[in-house]
């Protein structure tokens, strides 16, 4: 064992520990996700002023952009977990990677659909093959590929390993999605919110967007933890700690 990793992290990697940890954290994450989400929607749909150029139609940004961020963020999480799963064969990492994929795919799908709905009135088209739109579609196919590959094996650990390889190869698409608007002439506009330098959005529109970003992150945590817990129970169904939980549930 590498000694630079703190002990609690090692412990957290064990299925029963993570099961309990995730069980405690999940309701809080979900509660704050709903709270922040509702605040962001109120701020974005009611409080924020109309845009000078797009009027009220720009308000779909409060769904579209946080979903797009999540589609990339979850892919990165999935790829990192896949590397850990492939190199260290950590069961928990496999589960996290494989259970992230459907959530990420859902966010990617929402991004594409809301983008399409936004594109029709503003740009004049539902879809066009510019670099940003195409690379985001490729991202959706990568997610679907990972999900499909995982489920096409009889043995789930073998499936996870194969799908993890696809996931880490696909990570190359993530910077392409992000920088596509800078590298090529696209119909899609550049980034509004910037980490380096000032964002190109007035403050009363920006805070609901960032709040929604927090809400989607927390939702991801809550959703992932729920899925991972169920998966751990199924995976370890013969073990003592699972039997104890089953007995507790039966007694209720």
């Amino acid at each position: 064992m590498a000694n630079w990793i703190p002990l609690w992290l090692h412990k957290l990697g064990s299925p029963p520990m993570f099961y309990r940890f995730a069980g405690t954290l999940r309701p809080w994450a979900m509660a704050f996700a709903v709270l922040l989400g509702a605040t962001a929607l109120y701020g974005g749909l009611v409080l924020a002023p109309a845009d000078y150029q797009q009027g009220d139609a720009y308000r779909i940004i409060f769904i579209h952009v946080p979903s797009a961020w999540m589609s990339l963020f979850i892919y990165a999480v999935m790829a990192v977990a896949s590397i850990i799963a492939l190199v260290w064969r950590l069961k928990l990492a496999e589960v996290v990677a494989m259970e992230s994929a459907p959530i990420g795919a859902a966010f990617t799908f929402i991004t594409l659909v809301t983008g399409s709905l936004w594109g029709k009135p503003m740009w004049g088209t539902w879809w066009t093959w510019d670099a940003r739109l195409t690379s985001e579609l490729v991202l959706l196919f990568l997610y679907l590929g990972v999900i499909g590959l995982y489920h096409s094996f009889e043995d789930r650990r073998q499936g996870a390993r194969a799908a993890a390889f696809l996931a880490i190869i696909g990570i190359i698409n993530v910077p392409i999605v992000h920088f596509s608007v800078n590298w090529w002439n696209t119909l899609h506009q550049g980034s509004t919110v910037r980490i380096l330098g000032p964002s190109k959005m007035s403050g009363d529109m920006l805070w609901p967007l960032l709040t929604m970003m927090g809400a989607t992150k927390l939702y991801y945590i809550a959703s992932l933890f729920g899925r991972v817990r169920t998966d751990l129970l199924a995976m370890e169904s013969g073990k003592d700690w699972v039997r104890q939980i089953a007995e507790q549930e039966a007694r209720k």
Binding site: D51, L86, T125, I172, I176, G190, S191, T192, M205
Partner: protein, 155 residues
């Protein structure tokens, strides 16, 4: 790190590196075709002669929009920093189409004119309330700053 893990990590990193190189080369090779649009100055310098149809991107020149009174025919001029191109289009235009708006037109050249089959409006990444925009415009008025400077410029 034990040797097995080290080997696995090396394999994983090699796979990522190989995929990155492969995709990098592909993108590099396709660079010419990956640009979504050409600007008027690019067209005038002859870069569009390879294409039968292509996308023309630029800004609608202020005051150049002329609508036909008895049909959907519209003519306007698309400009960029160093060129201008007259465009002809028959059809319905998107909501954002107006003076100084970035647009992308798909179509072909007919002598010096561009005949568009589709016109899309491109908007920039700036969002602000109308009042703020008006205030900024007022502040700029004295200096006679082109509104184009506030808009997204196609490269």
């Amino acid at each position: 790190m034990n040797p097995t893990r080290k080997r696995r990590l090396t394999i994983v990193l090699l796979v990522i590196a190989a995929a990155a190189v492969a995709i990098g080369l592909t993108v590099f090779a396709l660079q010419q075709n990956m640009n979504y649009l050409l600007t008027p100055s690019q067209v005038q310098s002859g870069e569009a002669t390879r294409y039968k149809t292509f996308r023309l991107g630029g800004m609608v020149k202020a005051g150049s929009i002329q609508r036909s009174s008895d049909s959907l025919k519209v003519t306007f001029t698309v400009i960029d920093a160093g060129g201008a191109m007259p465009v002809e289009y028959i059809g319905i235009l998107p909501d954002l189409f107006r003076d100084n708006q970035s647009v992308i037109a798909t179509g072909h050249m007919d002598n010096a004119r561009f005949i568009a089959t589709e016109v899309l409006a491109k908007h920039d990444e700036t969002y602000m309330p109308k009042e703020l925009k008006d205030a900024m415009a007022k502040a700029h008025e004295g200096k006679q700053v082109n509104e184009a400077a506030l808009q997204d410029k196609p490269q």
